[in-house]
Point group: C2
Chain length 336, copies 2
Amino acid sequence: MSQPKLSDVAALAGVSPTTVSRVLNNRGYLSEKTRSNVFEAMKTLGYRPNAIARSLQGRKSQLIGLVFPSVAHPFYGEMAYRLESHLADAGYKTILCNSGDRPEAEQRYLDMLLANQVDGVITGAHSQLVAQFPLMGAPLVTIDRAETGKAPNVRCDNYDGGYRATSLLLERGAKEPVHITSTASEVNLRLRGYRDALAEHGITGRTLELGFDTPHAHKMEMIASYLDQYPTLDAVFASNDIYAAMVLSCAQRLRLEVPTDLQVIGFDGAPYTRAMLPHLATVMQPIDEIAQRAVARLLHAIAGQEDDLDGADVLPVSVYEGSTLRQKQPDRVSLD
Amino acid sequence: MSQPKLSDVAALAGVSPTTVSRVLNNRGYLSEKTRSNVFEAMKTLGYRPNAIARSLQGRKSQLIGLVFPSVAHPFYGEMAYRLESHLADAGYKTILCNSGDRPEAEQRYLDMLLANQVDGVITGAHSQLVAQFPLMGAPLVTIDRAETGKAPNVRCDNYDGGYRATSLLLERGAKEPVHITSTASEVNLRLRGYRDALAEHGITGRTLELGFDTPHAHKMEMIASYLDQYPTLDAVFASNDIYAAMVLSCAQRLRLEVPTDLQVIGFDGAPYTRAMLPHLATVMQPIDEIAQRAVARLLHAIAGQEDDLDGADVLPVSVYEGSTLRQKQPDRVSLD
DNA sequence: TTGAAAGCGCTAACAG
DNA sequence: CTGTTAGCGCTTTCAA
């Protein structure tokens, strides 16, 4: 037989299946002798309990669905890595779903996950998912994006990140910083932070929207022609490190000196991104802390506990200055 | 009841469970009337078939395990994304495992996957897995690394990549190119390509080994001090784009002009890496083709077909020249 | 301390 | 065209 089953072990050990199950789950009273007998039988048969059968009979599959736009993206890749690691530590397995930001795909994945009896779902892509959350049948935790609806959410302090990034640009002498983002909606907290920081200096600001589905090459063109069109722009706050990196490339192409002519700061600060672009200033998300909190809240919900945080859980960001920002201005001594 | 089951649908539709199962699987002859009755009952109950139960009773779980060092790494992230997409298209779900290159972790993940009755495993991390392959119980396809043992492998032409990268550096005037890699083992085909290309020009070459577990900051130091120590080095072939990017940063720090003083070429060319470092020359792996082939071979094996390729499946690389290589030399006209 | 029996939700014979 | 029966591998009452 290919895969030995519990009853095979029982037969070899000369006990009942129930007993084998007991030693497997370390439940109830067993004599030392039976235990070792059973263990030995398991060894010799190379027995491996069938997780599927266990899930079927019990209520929990120990499966968690992860739904992200794409793990190819450095931020989501890092996040997925962290989440999977923490879930594995807690004895959970991770089903990976790349929804590509396509709502139908999200929907299909969600159906699939529920059909597979996942104990919970973590998502960073939630047009669909959040709407269905109340009636979903499995706990959901959302990550990163501002929540819509009432699903538990863990994210970094996007507003503060936007505010601090922009303030930093201004502190270092920027007069006209632009914000580059995918889409400038009203719920975009990074944008709000940017605007508020500018407002304090009486500046209005400008936003370049790249769109979600725009092909990469086109985005490059948009950035380049924008920088070209507004030569007075002297700083960029990009809503993620990819865009920031693209700005760096465009600047090089346009012979703009960074940070002299143009200061640049990004957002995310995933380790591999930092490794590839160590000079890029960025607002660093506490990725691992977010992952840990998300897992903790999900497991909490799975355990049937009330979610006392009721909604969002906002973690602090930190700023990495790199060398795409100008040096700190020495305190000016007023001489007049 | 929370989740309606097949028998609930049967009851509501006034038929037997078998019949419901039949319409679900579209098997056998059904009267149109029963079909629609059953469908309606499913609709009103919001029925969703329990995949776990199906797997238990049937033989296949439609689950595939993906074992990689870390999806946070741009190359593996992209690969995982592609693999998951192709697997989903074929109706398979993906269990994600980040082994971090720790053999015990690989072992634990493998056990977990088999316990979960995965129909197959795809891995890019196979110290352990490959060894056990013959007795594993589920088909395995390995990716990227040179195979050890007899497991089916899909990868790019690492030797050719190394050869062409190095040849290109030489063509563009390099006299002393160094190869930077994690570990310079005998089975390192990129290194072999590098050496052979150099040999044709009568050059010996030099290798800097960074190690697998070395912390990032330390790797940076190693590169910087190496470049410092051998000022005659005029080109770098890095075994991946991260190392190449690190070389770029070090060069900047050391005031080495790229490509004038130092030419650089990397390896991998994942799209997000390309977006972030568009000027970096690199040997591009055909990531999506590799993913497609790997999935095809795995499904083939799952279907019980013989694997006619018996071992490796090597896909061609392409070279992206960026601007970290010197310009092509104009054909010299001999005047003497 | 152990076993027998029932059943998790579904499908696959085998009737009819 | 449809239903009955049995069983996937395991755990869980309930008894002994």
